[in-house]
Symmetry: C2
């Protein structure tokens, strides 16, 4: 879908096309060459074929510990018919010692030294052939022999070989110098962000600079980071102009505002020549590049994930090319290197996935294995979401062709962490901070716990399908006010699922800090004087609200805002924090996170539900011990809003 708008450069390219353009534009410029000592050349690319300056070994050396002899003097020697030599006919040599007069060496194991009246004599039990156990001069490397070619990377082994071969210095390609220019009115620098406890709404930290600098460090490259520039074309233009005079590669991190993205193209066009704009990938679409004064300038989109994929898939191969390597556009191996992936995993998608047509999609995924089936699921679609990239086990790249990808379809994951799926439990259920803490406890026992937040019903359904090792339930059956049992029976369908109550979780009315409207219970909620924020149909909290209203003889119709819907605890609590609503129902952790008041009204039994074969899993003991451990229980108690089994509950 190339849309040319009175310009002469490609737009909406595929990633491969964009990379081809970059490499074609900049690969031919030969990097600077510097001559360095071999040890300083580590990791760099040789600029010339390099030959040995010496013969290695430079003398005739023994290859074993033994006795240097003339082979013919040992003729006929066998264990049954040993040959005896006088002391002038042999000479002890250690491995590596010079062999001067003799032409072979007998291994000490094939000899026996005797001392007698006449002096010392050597008994030999195996005849030697000429040249046996002797390393000739130049046997390893000949003087003038080609050691490595232009374009080869200097590895530790090559450093060592070059040294032995007497090479004092080698010409290598210098690494390019890069500057990263963060721009935008909405970003603040690291210092400000960390020191100021009250950053105004609308301002976020410049995380892209920190990410890029860390990535470059992992790649073994230096990166200079400029101060943040405001969203002003003249300032940015001036900075880019200056940068191309001092650096080999310039990366401008665009602000997130749509306005600025238009600025960048204009700036680049006025300073040089655009290479491409827009890449058919998601995230990362707004990526663009230009040739300004012969220097590549890449404009990386502002969203963290968009910036990340631009660095991996465009900047990294370019910087390797600019370091003197030959990079093939179709070689996805470079992306693996860029993200630090050493291993791939093929796993089935745990849910249907709609991939946009005509666009290559990047997914951050987590993986698990249940009953021998390897799964993966996506973590968040948002390009601004940072935890997803840190939490992910790896990255998957879905091709442009993919549209509706059904659950179970196998995709290839470039793993960015060492994962041991056989030691990993998969929990599917409702998101709870106390349960999240179990991840750490399980890890300490050398096992792993992955959590997929799909809600209680979703978790039990997953368990039923064999898509999880365990789930959780805190579901109220409004017919009789009991919890969990009817649901578990329904989903287990007769299978023996073990249940374990791990705590009672408090649900409460969440009100503004200080409870200015003096809310004490559901009578206030249904009084008409407050605005309530409800949860979506199906949410446990909504079910609880209905039940509690009914049991209190109150009418849902009297609750102002009953039809207002939030999808998560935090979203609902946010409505109270922002003043849009006066109250909602939710868990204490949400109230605490936003500094709101919490009036407990119910405690719900939170039970873990284990698949019938759970205990066979290698990590099962670790999990079961964790939920019994004093340390976890203390941590949960400290959070507040939880009542552990055995503790008194008052209300």
């Amino acid at each position: 879908m190339a849309v040319v708008k009175n310009r002469e450069y490609p737009e909406h390219c595929s990633l491969e096309e964009a990379l081809e353009i970059l490499l074609a534009e900049f690969a031919s410029r030969e990097p600077k060459i510097k001559k360095v000592r071999p040890s300083e050349a580590l990791g760099l690319i040789l600029a010339e074929d390099t030959a040995s300056c010496r013969n290695v070994p430079h003398y005739t050396a023994s290859a074993v510990d033994g006795y240097a002899v003339t082979a013919s003097s040992t003729s006929g020697a066998t264990p049954a018919t040993p040959v005896t030599l006088t002391s002038s006919e042999y000479l002890w040599v250690n491995t590596g010692m010079p062999v001067m007069e003799a032409d072979s060496v007998v291994m000490v194991e094939d000899t026996s030294l005797e001392t007698s009246n006449g002096g010392e004599r050597l008994k030999i039990f195996r005849s030697a052939t000429q040249g046996e156990n002797v390393r000739a001069v130049g046997e390893d490397v000949m003087n003038g022999q080609l050691l490595a070619c232009r374009g080869d990377r200097v590895t530790p082994a090559l450093v060592s070989l070059l040294l032995c071969a007497g090479v004092k210095s080698v010409p290598v390609f210098a690494r390019p110098r890069t500057i990263f220019i963060p721009t935008g009115n909405e970003i603040v620098d690291e210092e400000t962000w960390l020191s100021d406890g009250n950053i105004p709404p609308g301002l976020v930290v410049d995380s892209n600079s920190a990410y890029a600098a860390s990535l470059f460090a992992d790649w073994g490259y230096e990166l200079d980071v400029s101060r943040i520039l405001p969203d002003e074309p003249e300032l940015i233009s001036e900075a880019v102009s200056k940068a191309v005079g001092e650096y080999d590669l310039v990366i401008v991190s665009a602000g997130s505002a749509k306005g600025l993205r238009d600025h960048s193209a204009g700036i680049f066009e006025s300073l040089g020549k655009m290479s491409f704009r827009y890449v058919r990938m998601k995230p990362g679409r707004p990526a663009m590049a230009a040739n300004i004064g012969g220097v590549p300038v890449i404009c990386s989109p502002g969203f963290p994930m968009s910036c990340a994929v631009t660095l991996w898939s465009l900047v990294y191969p370019l910087i390797r090319t600019m370091s003197g390597e030959r990079v093939e556009c179709r070689d996805a191996g470079y992306i693996s290197e860029a993200i630090g992936s050493r291993e791939i995993l093929k796993a089935g998608l745990l849910a249907n996935h709609s991939s946009p047509a005509g666009v290559m999609e990047w997914l951050r995924v987590k993986c698990a294995e249940v009953e021998g089936r390897k799964f993966c699921w996506r973590l968040s679609a948002g390009a601004s979401v940072l935890w997803a990239l840190a939490e992910a086990d790896g990255i998957a790249m879905l091709p442009e062709s993919g549209l509706e990808i059904p659950k179970g379809s196998e995709i290839t994951v470039l793993l960015t962490k060492r994962v041991n799926l056989s030691r990993r439990l998969l929990f599917q259920g409702s998101d709870d901070p106390a349960v999240n803490m179990l991840v750490s406890f399980v890890k300490r026992a050398g096992m792993e716990l992955a959590i997929r937040a799909v809600g209680s019903m979703g978790g039990l359904a997953a368990l039923s399908r064999g898509d999880a090792h365990f789930a959780a339930a805190h579901l109220l059956d409004i017919r009789d006010g009991t919890y969990n049992t009817s649901y578990i029976e329904q989903f287990s369908g007769g299978r023996h699922w073990r249940r374990k109550l791990i705590f009672h979780r408090e649900q409460g009315i969440i009100a503004s800090g200080g409870n200015p409207k003096n809310i004490r219970g559901f009578e206030d909620i249904a009084s008409g004087r407050l605005t309530f924020e409800n949860r979506q149909p199906g949410a446990g909290t909504r079910v609880l609200l209905d039940y509690m209203l009914k049991s209190s003889g109150l009418n849902a119709a009297d609750v102002v805002g009953y039809d207002r819907i939030s999808i998560t605890h935090m979203e609902a609590a946010n409505k109270v924090a922002s003043g849009v609503a006066d109250a909602t129902l939710g868990i204490k952790a949400a109230a605490d996170a936003l500094g709101l008041d919490f009036i407990p009204v119910a405690k719900e039994p939170y039970e873990l539900v284990f698949s019938e074969r759970f205990e066979e899993h290698p990590a099962a003991p670790a999990l079961l011990e964790a939920i019994e451990s004093g340390e976890w229980k203390s941590a949960v108690t400290r959070m507040g809003g939880y009542i552990l089994p055995g503790e008194a509950t008052e209300f």
Copy 2:
């Protein structure tokens, strides 16, 4: 085969056992903890669970570019039935901007702005639901939410996340400090080796220090290297004593002399407690470790390859453990990391291999693919041979069980280089420096050439079996004095193998520098006044000698030393250089490497022989162009001893 010699520590352990001992001994000692800024924590291991200090986002933010509205005001809007809002009912927001009064954001793509007499108005073509396109406070990360666990590695993504989450410093495990102590009377330091043009026989450069330092640098660890210590137990003991007081890990590089290996054990036993001695691996058998003052001390064998495997398989997992990571002894993934391998390749052995029983064998291999079959072959068995490690494509570890492993058996190669087998040609044939130079030319064209030196007959046989893409021949048929044709016909068995003469190679009499015995031709060789060094039966050079003696009417029996045998050009030339023989027959490159005189006596046509499908190979054009290129031809001519096609030949 545990042999206990009045000692209480294990000997002759398997690699796995040795590593288990090391980890059990030293893993429980917790590394020092330091608090650093997230960006300084990159690559280090978290010492504590780390939680968010903030809500992210910290304000309600728009997730798109568009207009913030109250969802209910857009009710019923569709493209056919748009809803129009007055300017007080909407507010433009860029992605990331705060959403204050409104509860949702309509994407700009779903709107149209109109200006009319009454002012500006917004037409909306799609109704919004509450909370749509709005990111709630803490939607990404909640204040107090667990971000990463103790034991997690700090990645670029985590650095970025920690920064966003307001984390100013994190406790991480400090990396251990290591010292490498080279010892031995036979090694000299880098400076001496490089500056002195005449190192005496018996002395070699301390290459292990350079290798270890480079390896540690690649691993991201610092390594101090001490000065070389002579083979004196008291000095070494003193140095080790001092080192364990200043470092967390001490590596002593043993001399190659058998004597010293015994010293090390004695030194360790007197200073501390031995952990193990001798590992059932080859190379690397003499590796040993001890606990001296609570500090791990590893004695690495002196041979370069033995030192290398000790660093990869024992030091690396230990140093990762000492950095706070959990290392599993059975996890060969650590060896992959240690050698920088990102990919494995399964390939069939190109030749039978005898692997010693009861010992895990390390192989340095090179790989190729012919007609869809992936091969690998070992490069050198010598533990002192450095070029083999630099030249190798990867490392294979043959298990203890393997004895006679037949050709074709599949082994797993941990690739240490990026190889593109589909672009690689495999040449099997006689080792020739001019042919070796083609490697570089082919590489410049983006292709690859691997050379396996098996001699002319071996190469044609390989070609015949389909184990190579091309071979070479410079074989004299003594029945009629012709070259190559009869052999090629014999091996090709009717298949259409293309032949190409690339040069005539001079064979000549190699004599001491200055030709003190005034050797002019074969008459002198058969005169009885000289000692000759012959080649092995089957060698082309030996065949040539016989033919030339016969055609000159001379008698092999008159050649003193006719029965003396050397296996390669260099070995034979070495005999002349060392004075053991007065003359031999060989190529000019061998004479030049040793500064010997060369009296040409014959020129042999050196032809490349291509398999019938050679031209289909992607790298074929690159090779064919290389052998026609002026640059290669000039380089060959400069070497001397070669006559290119078309050049006049005088003798």
